[in-house]
């Protein structure tokens, strides 16, 4: 929001006749504030700002850069260390079925993202199947089935089943047998305190051996992002992250925390409720929005 963004801090930095230690300290304070408002993990903010300050003050100025430009470059460098420099696609091996499993906290947008991914991959000429392995949420199977009809991909669900592991297994087996390129498995929402559900997630993973376990993260999540992502990663190896609801006002700083907690890369972002509102992740764009 106005007056709080790092762009203002940059502007202040630009207006200074010289960029001395005091100017860097002030810039770092503004940076901290911008990152905190963006929901980045507090410890991460402190660590990042310390590194930016240290590098800005101690590093020898690279050739051709003013001290001002150097400060800005250091900031972007530090942030892109985690996020990567460009879009990275989901792991895909042609000639066989690829299984992608969607996991995440309740309400984060897994089912909707499943529909979006199915549409996206189908547009790329792949044969896609959607499996509903959420046996808890009322109407979960109906929801995914309706989305699969909208994007015209095959659907597998067992609305009255109680065993999510078995449903996932049967769904994946069916689509593998029919030569599908990608099998997207939607699972029930769960959080780190629900040990039984984390165990279930582990069991599903063990049975369907996903090529990618995608953590679907709500862009509005606050300081809990780090610990929740860490718990998911301890139960199953999170390979990628999709951050949803970035069409709102949230900056998605929690996503940065979850990247640090899992070592996974953000590959897509959700920018709305409609099935075409999925974008490939663009690190510079994300950082720009984070600091805006």
């Amino acid at each position: 929001s106005l007056g709080q963004g790092i762009s203002n801090a940059f502007r202040k930095l630009l207006r200074r006749p010289t960029v001395d230690e005091k100017a860097v300290e002030e810039f770092v304070k503004d940076l901290q504030r911008a990152l905190l408002i963006a929901d980045v993990n507090v410890d991460l903010v402190l660590a990042l700002s310390e590194r930016v300050k240290k590098r800005a003050l101690e590093e020898k100025l690279p050739l051709g850069l003013t001290r001002r430009e150097h400060v800005i470059k250091v900031l972007f460098d530090e942030l892109t260390v985690f996020l990567g420099e460009s879009y990275q696609p989901l792991r895909y091996i042609s000639g066989r079925s690829n299984v992608y499993m969607l996991v995440g906290i309740q309400g984060s947008g897994k089912t909707t993202t499943g529909g979006k991914l199915a549409r996206y991959l189908k547009k790329r000429g792949l044969k896609v199947g959607l499996v509903c392995a959420d046996t808890y949420r009322p109407g979960a199977s109906d929801q995914l089935k309706q989305l699969s009809e909208r994007v015209e991909v095959s659907f597998y669900g067992e609305p009255d089943a109680k065993d999510a592991v078995k449903v996932a297994e049967r769904g994946v087996k069916k689509f593998k047998g029919e030569g599908y390129d990608v099998i997207l498995v939607d699972t029930a929402g769960r959080h780190k305190e629900e040990k039984g559900l984390l165990k279930e997630m582990k069991e599903i993973t063990g049975k369907i051996k996903p090529d990618e376990i995608i953590l679907v993260l709500d862009g509005t999540i606050g300081q809990q992002a780090f610990n929740q992502a860490k718990a998911f990663n301890e139960a199953t190896d999170i390979g990628s992250i999709i951050v949803t609801k970035l069409d709102g006002a949230a900056k998605g700083g929690g996503a940065l925390s979850s990247v640090v907690a899992t070592g996974a890369k953000i590959k897509y972002i959700g920018t709305g409720e409609k099935l075409d509102e999925l974008e490939t992740f663009d690190p510079p764009g994300f950082v720009g929005r984070l600091l805006d």
Binding site: I105, G107, A140, I221, Q223, G248
Partner: protein, 283 residues
């Protein structure tokens, strides 16, 4: 022994950091820190340890003041007062996508039914895939009738229809489920505004996600400005939420939190305890 300004600044910075780590929104953490500073003005401080104790005391007081509701809203009490009246007790639930509105409605419906009230659900989310089936399944499980139209239909018309049905059949309470929406979407805010105008509810409840960070303040403020709500229910508190969202939302809107969602089952609805949140935030 004189306390230096530097000690004071460090102490206040630590205070603010601890609030931020409890997931309190930045602007709220800053405002509370200012509040604490005000409380400490003119107080005599001895050694550094005295400042720490004074700070914690002032912080505890400030948080307690914010969290203790100024008004008391109790759904069961409202249902009791409304019993026998020609018009049903109408409650609208609104909020951002995925916060727990539909599940919260199901919990409240079941609670009312157990206390002997006659309830209907209004499926005013005519947009999201599976929203009607989700509410219908809750209806089956709780024995509560769902008034619904088709997907793509007018959401306000469903609410109206449900209220007419309630009046005709002597139903006590109408719980209206609305679609999730971003507080940045003016059209969608206008849509839910229309539902509220048409249904003229006794109570409008904002359902927030306990896991939300700084956006919790923005959501609550915008919804309150654009539509207006009377009370807040915070869901997913069981996800080990640090409690900050409760403080942020209450500070920003001054509306009472009347319940918290503590899980996905029908019994997982608890009354809001300022003491419990205070201990979580200060932990």
């Amino acid at each position: 022994k004189e306390l230096t300004d530097k000690n004071m600044d460090e102490a206040f910075w630590d205070l603010q950091l601890s609030l931020l780590q409890s997931d309190v929104a930045l602007e709220v953490a800053e405002a509370i820190t200012e509040k604490v500073k005000e409380k400490l003005k003119g107080k005599r401080v001895g050694r550094f340890t005295d400042l720490k104790t004074l700070l914690e005391e002032a912080l505890r007081e400030s948080i307690k003041e914010i969290l203790t509701p100024k008004s008391s809203i109790e759904i069961l009490a409202l249902a009791e007062e409304n019993k026998g009246k020609k018009e049903p007790l109408v409650i609208v639930f609104l909020g951002v996508n995925g916060t727990g509105k539909t599940t919260t409605i199901a919990k409240i419906g079941r609670m009312l039914k157990k206390k002997g009230y006659n309830v209907v659900f209004a499926a005013s989310d005519t947009f999201r895939a599976g929203s009607i089936e989700q509410l219908e399944e809750h209806g089956r499980r709780t024995g509560i009738r769902v008034i619904r139209h088709d997907y793509g239909g007018d959401s306000a018309a469903v609410a109206y229809d449900a209220i007419q049905h309630a009046m005709a059949k002597g139903v006590d309470v109408v719980l209206i489920d609305t679609a999730g929406r971003m507080q940045t979407d003016k059209n969608l805010l206008e849509e839910v505004n229309k539902i509220v105008r048409v249904s003229n509810p006794k109570l409008t409840i904002f359902v927030g996600d306990a896991l939300a960070g700084n956006d919790a303040v923005e959501q609550a403020k915008k919804f309150n400005e654009a539509v207006g709500f009377d009370a807040v229910i915070l869901a997913k508190v069981d996800a080990d939420s640090k409690g900050g969202a409760a403080l942020s939302i209450t500070f920003a809107t001054e509306k009472p939190i009347i319940a918290v969602g503590t899980g996905q089952k029908y019994d997982d609805l608890a009354s809001f305890s300022p003491e419990w949140f205070l201990s979580k935030i200060l932990d």
